[in-house]
Subunit: 209 residues, 2 copies
Amino acid sequence: MFMGASTKQGYDIAEKSREIVKSLIDDKTGHLTSKERAIVERIVHSTADPEYAEITRISGNFVQESLKSIRNEEDILTDINMVKVGINRYKGKVKCYIKDEKAVKIAKEYGITRASAAMRVAALEGFEGIVAIGNAPTALLEVLDLVQKGEMDVKSVIGVPVGFVGAAESKKALQETELPYLATEGPKGGTPVAVAAVNALINLDLGKV
Amino acid sequence: MFMGASTKQGYDIAEKSREIVKSLIDDKTGHLTSKERAIVERIVHSTADPEYAEITRISGNFVQESLKSIRNEEDILTDINMVKVGINRYKGKVKCYIKDEKAVKIAKEYGITRASAAMRVAALEGFEGIVAIGNAPTALLEVLDLVQKGEMDVKSVIGVPVGFVGAAESKKALQETELPYLATEGPKGGTPVAVAAVNALINLDLGKV
């Protein structure tokens, strides 16, 4: 089950990878708690990109609030289906509304992205839990807006949209809120980063670090 | 429809992103054909990581053979579901057998990864088309083995597994075959890279570059 492995061969690969990841980033993760370090290690393992040890930002209350939400089996809301299908061992529900009819309608009506409209649909459906955004900056900004208006009950946000247009700014905006967050600095991020963060939290909850 | 956008706002973001991507990598893509360049641009757009312009390798026959397979609406086989769900506008079928009962059985019986077993299942099912591996080096090596044994009919391979254990070596092995390929050098790669390459090919087939 470690690092997503489900067979002996998969486990051996994951274990060897973990040693390499540790050797690459141990000097950059000294300021983190052991749980935060486990999350960053999984992100570097999943991306093979040690830069994530330098650009990942985790608020002091992120791990605690996220684990509380996971323990209560609250929903996890993702911006796109690539994030949803990557979270494959959660006892609670993982939701994505990007293909929902209502999201398509709202996107057309307001001239916004479907990823953004999908966040509004989640709010209307009474979402409560962890938000994981791996792709669309517009979805992240929409969540911040819905939270500010008191229209969405968010326990923590994994905000790692990727791209050269708006992604860095949306992640800066997240870090300026009171929300428990995990975010990356700059344009980098993506669905594997969001998936790695969520799956690391699920493993932490199970006591598998 | 450009770069995956489906709304006016999405289109505007994608267009601005494309200009930035071009400015970042144009000096590194002079040796590529215009179609190869469109693929590399989409990979950099999807990852926000210009390094992919330097580490992406495309065989001379890759674009032509892949486009032929796409035009014939042959299957696209992925190693994990994250790649499958990212390919959302293909007229043909996108297949993934990692959760297939037969794959679970084969993995246990032979002590191999599920991703690897899933490639054997595809071969048994008579797969014919493009293989896109975004995660598991073991799946890529399995495909090369099946092709060499004459047990699998592969038209081209997008081989971009990610990780510090075996990924670089598996992509080297792919580049030493006669197969039309797109691969990355070193540990980096991942599901967004595989998805970007496939979706760029689908767009090229539709005449949308």
